[in-house]
């Protein structure tokens, strides 16, 4: 149109180029930030001249939501797997070396050896020691399970605290987004922050989001309970510092709605909280029940009987808090694995006589089988050995069926845990792959490619140079004019 307007347009172009360069440099500096979405300076033409109208932020809600869901389900699965690893290690030991199944086998071996040479007191002591290992495995396993539950409870409490503070962070970011959107400001920073917070929240709990006017966002849990709507809702949880077998933990309430724990090895739990609740309320108590059942079976198998059949059977080598009675058959007695102990009458380390194992009579004269104290009396020992290999009835509630010997039952407990662990590990791998894949897809959709930014930078450089050229040309032309005016 005229030289002046050419000059003015060139000036605007310089401004635009520098703003675009600014965006490019932001993009490059955040290329490796997974929470960063690529920005684009979109130039809209106004007559006359042009200006940077808005900064567009690459977003792909579909992929982002998929990524959040994959993140939740992976963190849930990996929390379950970690918990199972922990429980398997603390209850069963490395390669199941300290598992009840293994120590019961060792006890049976020791008992058999003693039965072969009943006159040998050392072998009697060995058998009692082996029994002590069984007791220790059950006691320690039970303690480990309850410690694990208390630890999980603490972790849940920490997760709830983090979640509450994350919701506060979300509130701050969301408010900024809403205010900025209404004011037409560039809210990319706040959106990045909000997305980053959402990712962190997803690690704890599965979420669904709902977008409202002005970029306002509502967060709900997978079950539809409100997490955030204008204001963060409170998530409440009463932690219990210590757990005993049979004790039930408290639920986590989101806005008054309880979070449901997961189910199965390929867990239905999404997010760490549901997985931890599954471990605390489902896996660990079932393991405890299994240990309790093993303890009960050991007490029952090793119970002393009256040779004349007058007295009721009484707790023998293995005893418990309810001794001398033996626990009722086929019913879980909560905490039995924790309270099972060696009968003091046979525990040589505190002055008991291990030979009572051969003769009977830990519960009084009525229970003596070897009335003449024959040194090589092996019938009672052999009957114990036979009873250990006999089928017993177990509580279905412990999840391992109702039949089998104590040996197969204790091996079944390992199978139960390891099967779950195997499924969990496989599922974790699959879910991890999905998470990596969705993260990659999201990164491809919203991330930065440095090469692309560099080539844009080249373009910008050219544009800038061209504008400068233009200004110089106009300047030259004006100079020519001035030269004409003498």
């Amino acid at each position: 149109m005229s030289l002046t307007s050419a000059l003015s347009i060139a000036q605007t172009a310089l401004l635009n180029t520098s703003r675009q360069t600014n965006i490019v440099s932001r993009n490059i500096s955040d290329a490796q930030n997974p929470d960063y979405s690529r920005r684009q300076a979109v130039i809209a033409s106004y007559a006359p001249g042009a200006r940077v109208v808005e900064i567009q932020r690459s977003a792909n809600e579909q992929l982002f939501r998929q990524n959040l869901a994959a993140l939740s389900s992976f963190t849930g699965q990996s929390a379950l797997l970690a918990g199972l690893d922990d429980l398997a290690m603390s209850v069963n030991g490395v390669d199941n070396a300290t598992s009840p199944a293994t120590v019961i086998g060792q006890f049976q071996e020791a008992l058999h050896l003693f039965a072969t040479t009943p006159s040998n007191r050392t072998l009697a002591e060995n058998a009692v020691d082996a029994a002590r290992q069984v007791v220790r495995a059950l006691n320690d396993g039970s303690a480990a399970i309850q410690t694990a539950r208390a630890d999980i409870d603490k972790s849940i409490s920490e997760a709830v605290t983090s979640l509450n503070s994350l919701l506060q962070d979300f509130h701050a970011a969301n408010s900024e987004v809403v205010a900025g959107t209404r004011a037409g400001r560039d809210v990319s920073e706040a959106l990045d922050k909000r997305d980053a917070v959402l990712k962190k929240i997803s690690e704890f709990i599965p979420i669904t989001t709902l977008k409202r006017a002005d970029n306002d966002m509502v967060i709900m849990t997978g079950e539809g309970a409100m997490l955030y709507e204008k204001l963060p809702r409170t998530i409440t949880f009463d932690s219990i510092p210590g757990y005993s077998p049979g004790a039930t933990g408290n639920a986590v309430y989101v806005d008054g709605v309880a979070i449901v724990g997961g189910q199965g090895g390929n867990t239905s739990a999404s997010g760490t909280i549901a997985a931890m609740m599954q471990l605390r309320d489902n896996v660990a108590p079932t393991m405890q029940s299994q240990l309790d059942e093993i303890a009960r079976a050991m007490i029952t198998a090793m119970a002393e009987t009256d040779p004349n059949g007058v007295q009721p059977p009484a707790a023998g080598l293995f005893t418990w808090s309810g001794a001398p009675a033996i626990p009722p058959a086929g019913t879980v007695v909560d905490g039995l694995a924790a309270s099972i102990s060696i009968n003091a009458a046979m525990d040589f380390s505190i002055g008991g006589d291990p030979v009572l194992l051969r003769d009977g009579g830990a519960n009084g004269a009525a229970y003596i089988w070897n009335t003449f104290s024959a040194a090589s009396y092996s019938d009672l020992l052999n009957s114990y050995n036979a009873k250990l290999d006999d089928d017993q009835s177990f509580d279905l509630a412990a999840g391992l069926g109702s039949g089998g010997t104590v040996g197969t039952y204790s091996a079944g407990a390992i199978s139960w845990l390891e099967a779950m662990r195997q499924t969990a590990a496989g599922a974790a791998e699959t879910k991890n792959a999905l998470m990596v894949h969705t993260a990659e897809a999201l990164s491809n959709a919203t991330g930065v490619n440095i090469d692309q930014e560099m080539s844009i930078l080249l373009d910008l450089e050219n544009a800038y140079e061209a504008s400068v050229r233009l200004i110089r040309a106009v300047d030259d032309m004006l100079a020519a004019l001035f030269a004409a005016v003498r």
Partner: protein, 416 residues
């Protein structure tokens, strides 16, 4: 035909060119003045009708023209209160004494009292929203007042309308326990959500909304104030439910049949009409699809934003907007005929035609651009070439005069 006539003609030509040079000087001087409109000179001949064979030289008269309607380039700035008009029209301003003017110089800044004043000291005028949505007085400046953003008031808006849309799971089993509406400590429900609403003084009230299946295709909805909840279990709420209702769905398509609206008495606030008409009962999980309630918490003005339509909004700290003023755009039939006054302002002249006041974007009126200023529409190159042209014309005129003077000299010297 006279030498004097010729000399006078030359003089008039020189005067005319001097006039033109004056406008050029002004134009160049104001080439960077915001909203300055270029002045130019139009010449018209004053030729005396000649009789046969006899030419009587006349002269030239000048008329000053202003390119008021020609838009200058927009220059972008970082101040939201810098305004420009993209298109036709003028801002209405007034001086300290209250006289209204028109201008396109929009470099407004707030003064000590919050009024927007431009570089020449003129105050921006607008219609106030205080008395409802304004409509312009098309043919005058009535109803306009000085725009002032000094208010630091806090405003709150109680909630009155809301929408809640969700899918209720058709396969849900009706809970065996007492319904939430009974407010029993053992109440059971199918799904729960909560929403933030505002009472009369802008306090946030969280409403717990329970959906409970009571029978096939029939649901109960019960609303409680979360502040009354028993910690942990929620139930019972002190004081019971705010309201409860029932909804029935069409088993053939899962759409709502009855119970599409709920009038909730917000504690300390208005009655909130919650629209539930889009609720569905389909397969799948409980899923909230839309949740919205109006109302605002109180907050102070954070900044002032001016939209393209000239509406000036106060933006509150919580991000909400409230329109404060609407800045009108005024124009006349012939903007180029407006009287030009110091300070880049114009006033109506007898030739400019009738004043028309309207809003940005209306037909024949431009739009308001915030964060931009209008450069002067002077082009230096043009001015310089004009100047050279004037200079040459002036020289030529002076030559005419000189030739006349020389001839006169010869004539005078005829008589010795």
């Amino acid at each position: 035909m006279s030498l004097y006539g010729m000399m006078r003609t030359g003089v008039s030509g020189m005067n005319a060119q001097a006039n033109r040079l004056s406008t050029t000087a002004d134009n160049i001087a104001n080439s960077s003045t915001t909203g300055y409109k270029r002045a130019s000179v139009e010449f018209s001949s004053l030729i005396i009708p000649s009789v046969t064979g006899n030419y009587t030289s006349g002269g030239v008269t000048t008329a000053i023209r202003y390119s008021n309607s020609q838009q200058g380039d927009l220059r972008y700035t970082n101040s939201a209160s810098d305004l420009a008009i993209n298109g036709d029209g003028f801002f209405v301003v007034q001086d300290a004494s209250g006289t209204p003017f028109l201008t396109r110089a929009g470099s407004f800044v707030p003064d000590g009292e919050g009024r927007l004043v431009n570089a020449a000291g003129f105050y921006l005028m607008g219609y106030n929203f205080a008395n409802g949505t304004p409509s312009p007085v098309t043919n005058g400046f009535g109803g306009l007042e000085m725009v002032s953003v000094s208010q630091t008031e806090l405003t709150a808006l109680p909630s009155e309308n809301g929408v809640f849309t969700a899918n209720l799971p058709v396969d849900a089993v009706a809970p065996a326990g007492p319904l939430p509406s009974t407010n029993s400590p053992t109440a059971e429900y199918t799904a729960k959500s909560s929403m933030v609403v505002y009472d009369d003084v802008g306090r946030e009230v969280i409403l717990d909304i329970y959906y409970t299946k009571t029978a096939a295709n029939t649901w109960e909805v019960a609303v409680f104030n979360q502040a009354d909840a028993t910690p942990g279990t929620s139930f019972p709420y002190t004081g019971g439910d705010l309201i409860s209702g029932s909804m029935t769905f069409d088993p053939s398509n899962g759409q709502l049949l009855t119970g599409g609206s709920l009038a909730i008495p917000v504690p300390g606030g208005q009655t909130l009409t919650l629209d539930l008409s889009n609720m569905t009962e389909l397969g799948g999980n409980y899923k909230v699809l839309d949740a919205y309630v109006d109302g605002e918490a109180p907050s102070g003005i954070d900044s002032v934003v001016i939209g393209e339509d000239g509406t000036m909004y106060a933006q509150y700290e919580n991000g909400t907007f409230k329109p404060l003023y609407r800045i009108p755009i005024a124009t006349v039939q012939s903007p180029d005929q407006l009287r030009v006054l110091p300070g880049n302002v114009f006033s109506q002249s007898d030739q400019s035609g009738d004043l028309r006041v309207g809003f940005a974007g209306e037909s024949g009126l431009g739009s308001v651009v915030s964060g931009a200023l209008e450069n002067s529409n002077v082009d230096i190159a043009e001015e310089l070439t004009n100047m050279i042209e004037s200079q040459r014309s002036y020289t030529a005129n002076s030559k005419v005069f000189q030739t006349g003077a020389d001839l006169m000299d010869i004539l005078v010297n005829l008589k010795r």
